[in-house]
């Protein structure tokens, strides 16, 4: 089973299409979408259509904080996310909003545990961006003895956390396209990066592919038409900063 892991698409249909095509070329047989399908970007309906089609085919789809915001937009518009949540809410049909609302926060099957943010309190949307937070998430997931891998998104960076010879988790920055052996006698936690809004200075879309039988995890970066995605944001009248950051990957 080759599981394509996509997260934080953020209504960027250009990036989603590029990653799906890339994953197909890499032999992806199963799909998991780890939340934040919408928010920030200009094409929430197009993204949802594709994701719902994948879900019909058996894909795992999780809810992220931007789904929660789009379902019930916050009254104050302090953050960029809150400002676009109202717009997203209007774009989506009631059916689509109901579908998003029914999505689970966490999914577990065999050695895999999938969550948008942190497994220890998925509804609190905690950022797993250091060893300590990674340990909290991983330890909570290990309450299920068969769990070996925790995959999440939310932080928009690609990092693999693993246990070295000491007790602490160690962060590891993966190189795109390098298959990393992740044997099952160890426990692993990965944040798989963002499809639709990378923030590490590289504008290419990020996702990961897990070959469960071979115990190999590969992180990918996929070039896509980010100019078109940025143009769509400007055309929709959404904040300029959201368009500009796609062009720089910041």
């Amino acid at each position: 089973m080759r599981l394509a892991l996509l997260s934080d698409i953020h209504a960027n249909v250009q990036a989603l299409d590029a990653c799906m095509a890339h994953a197909q070329s890499q032999g992806a047989s199963h799909w998991a979408l780890l939340g934040d399908l919408v928010g920030y970007g200009a094409n929430p309906c197009e993204v949802l259509t594709r994701v719902q089609a994948l879900a019909h085919g058996g894909a795992i789809v999780l809810q992220g904080n931007h789904e929660a915001m789009a379902i019930a937009p916050p009254p104050s518009e302090q953050s960029l996310g809150a400002r676009t949540a109202g717009w997203t809410h209007q774009q989506l049909s009631p059916d689509q909003r109901a579908w998003l609302q029914a999505l689970p926060l966490l999914h577990r099957s065999g050695p895999l545990l999938l969550v948008h943010a942190s497994a220890d309190a998925p509804e609190r949307w905690r950022y797993v961006d250091n060893e300590r937070m990674a340990a909290l998430s991983l330890n909570a997931a290990l309450a299920h003895p068969e769990v070996r891998y925790v995959f999440g998104g939310h932080v928009h960076h690609q990092t693999l956390y693993y246990k070295g010879s000491g007790q602490q988790l160690m962060p590891f920055k993966p190189s795109p396209g390098v298959a990393i052996p992740v044997p099952t006698h160890r426990r692993w936690l990965a944040t798989i990066g963002s499809v639709g809004q990378p923030r590490d200075g590289d504008p290419r879309a990020a996702y990961a592919l897990m070959d469960v039988a071979a115990c190999k995890l590969t992180f990918f970066r996929v070039p896509y038409n980010h100019t078109a995605a940025a143009r769509a944001i400007r055309d929709a009248g959404l904040p300029e900063a959201l368009a500009a950051r796609l062009e720089t990957g910041q």
């Binding site: 693993y162 070295g164 010879s165 160690m170 190189s175 390098v178 052996p181 044997p183 006698h185």
Partner: protein
């Protein structure tokens, strides 16, 4: 794991005789149990401890599997299969016939002989080439010692045992435990003593220790058992080889002592550079280091000891592959006939520019003469005198280049096929860039016969820069007089 009896079957392999019982593992000859013919002879390496001994004991084995999966090329045995670590851990790999360097050294000791310097250099160059192949794949060996080097019958060296190795693109499973030195005390590099992993030049230090051992029969830093003893190599300069064996040539001492420098940046910048010197003893740039026969005095050592007390090694900021890419070997192929001064001038300019961007790069200036050009009867055409003439010409050409930060060497190759000779040379010496004249005068013929530059560009194992004479001198006057 207790020793497996011959005939035991394990995961589709039938175990044969035990070829080696080491401290950490047993090595058995194996074949496919089904009787399927194997494409090459195979061995199975089984660690002595079992999964029950605790996962940490087995990490080295896990690291070896992790890294061997990624390695290609003939510097390492091919990996066939690996056992489940939680059941029976093992690795099945290609069996390389031949002696280990340790066995070879033992033979020399038993026979009471020492190998001639050129033989030491030949084996050293083979190991350096194998190391370069490893470093190009982003792997540092970090436990290089005579027992881990196999001398294959075809002359190449094959590296074994990647249990302490480090791959720049994979999580380092040993990272934390190794804050303190782990490795083989006699060969370990000083930066490894203080816990730095992942610098390819650590392997060059270990190779320096092996070269020293091959040449003199002794270890430059002994076999220390304590942390203090290990730290000696942070400041101590070993006894010069020529003190121990007066007949050691200066070039060999120069090479070995450069490998054994305490600071990584004072060693060779890459294994390819080291292999180059080992293969061209006459081109080794001699310094005081190569000539000395007394070793450092007390006061000099004291000064270095004080410096070492505050020494902090910075982990190399670059992955192995990127680091060695920065110090390429640049080869310039200089024609010796049908070449205009303008063309030679342009080639020098381009060479200067290329070297300017690459501090630490090495320059090899090469010319190919026809093998029928030399004559054993005609004194003026005798091999040595003809070579000397050409070498002088090459050196003259290179005179205006700024070579302060670059090692340069000059070579006359003899061959009837110029392109072939250049290609062989480039391949054999891990050249990263070839600069040659574009030979525009042959362009009309090109449709019929591939010219030397075209042939080289098509088949070269690296980047090729074809230099056109940008501004022929005869046009300079026109331009100057133009309004």
């Amino acid at each position: 794991m207790k020793r497996l009896a011959p005939g035991t079957e394990l995961d589709g392999f039938r175990v044969g005789e035990c070829l080696h019982a080491g401290g950490m593992a047993h090595v058995y000859a194996v074949e496919f149990a089904q009787g399927t013919p194997a494409p090459f002879p195979m061995v199975m390496k089984v660690p002595r401890m079992t999964a029950g001994d605790g996962a940490e004991n087995i990490v080295g084995f896990e690291v070896e599997h992790q890294i061997m999966q990624t390695l290609q090329g003939d510097a390492v045995p091919r990996l066939v299969a690996a056992g489940d670590l939680s059941a029976v851990p093992y690795l099945v790999m290609e069996h390389i016939p031949g002696l280990s360097l340790q066995q070879w050294l033992d033979q020399q000791t038993e026979a009471g002989t020492r190998p001639p310097p050129l033989e030491v250099a030949r084996i050293g160059a083979a190991i350096a080439m194998a190391l370069h192949s490893l470093h190009k794949q982003n792997v540092c060996h970090l436990d290089l010692k005579p027992a881990n080097v196999l001398l294959a019958p075809d002359g190449r060296a094959v590296l074994l045992d990647f249990g302490l190795s480090c791959h720049a693109q994979l999580p380092d499973l040993l990272a934390e435990e190794l804050r303190n030195a782990v490795g083989s005390p006699a060969w370990i590099a000083p930066e490894q003593v203080v816990g730095v992993r992942g610098d390819p030049r650590s392997d060059l230090f270990a190779l320096g220790v092996m070269l020293y051992e091959m040449a003199t029969g002794t270890l430059p830093f002994g076999n220390p058992q304590t942390q203090g003893g290990l730290r000696q190599r942070l400041w101590m300069s070993p006894t010069p080889l020529r003190c121990l064996r007066a007949d050691t040539p200066e070039w060999l001492q120069e090479i070995v002592m450069r490998c054994l420098q305490p600071q990584a940046q004072d060693r060779y910048p890459s294994a390819a550079h080291l292999a180059f010197d080992l293969r061209h003893p006459d081109q080794v740039k001699l310094t005081e280091r190569g000539r000395e026969v007394a070793g450092l005095g007390f006061w000099q050592h004291l000064r270095r000891w004080v410096r070492a007390a505050g020494m902090h090694y910075q982990p190399s900021p670059l992955a192995a592959q990127q680091q060695i890419e920065r110090v390429p070997i640049v080869m310039v192929a200089l024609p010796h006939q049908d070449v205009s001064d303008a063309a030679l001038f342009s080639m020098r300019q381009e060479t200067d520019r290329a070297l300017g961007n690459l501090p630490g790069a090495r320059l090899a200036v090469v010319t190919v003469i026809s093998d029928s050009a030399t004559s054993s009867s005609d004194n003026a055409k005798s091999e040595t005198s003809l070579h000397r003439q050409h070498l002088t010409r090459l050196q003259q050409w290179a005179q205006p280049l700024d070579l302060e930060n670059h090692q340069a060497s000059f070579h006359v190759l003899e061959s009837g096929d110029v392109a072939q000779a250049l290609l062989r040379y480039a391949e054999g010496n891990h050249v990263s860039m070839i600069i040659l004249g574009a030979a525009t005068h042959g362009l009309q013929m090109q449709r019929l016969v591939a010219t030397v530059p075209i042939k080289v560009a098509m088949h070269a194992p690296c980047t090729v820069m074809l230099v056109k004479a940008a501004l022929p001198f005869e046009h300079l006057a026109d331009e100057a007089s133009a309004p």
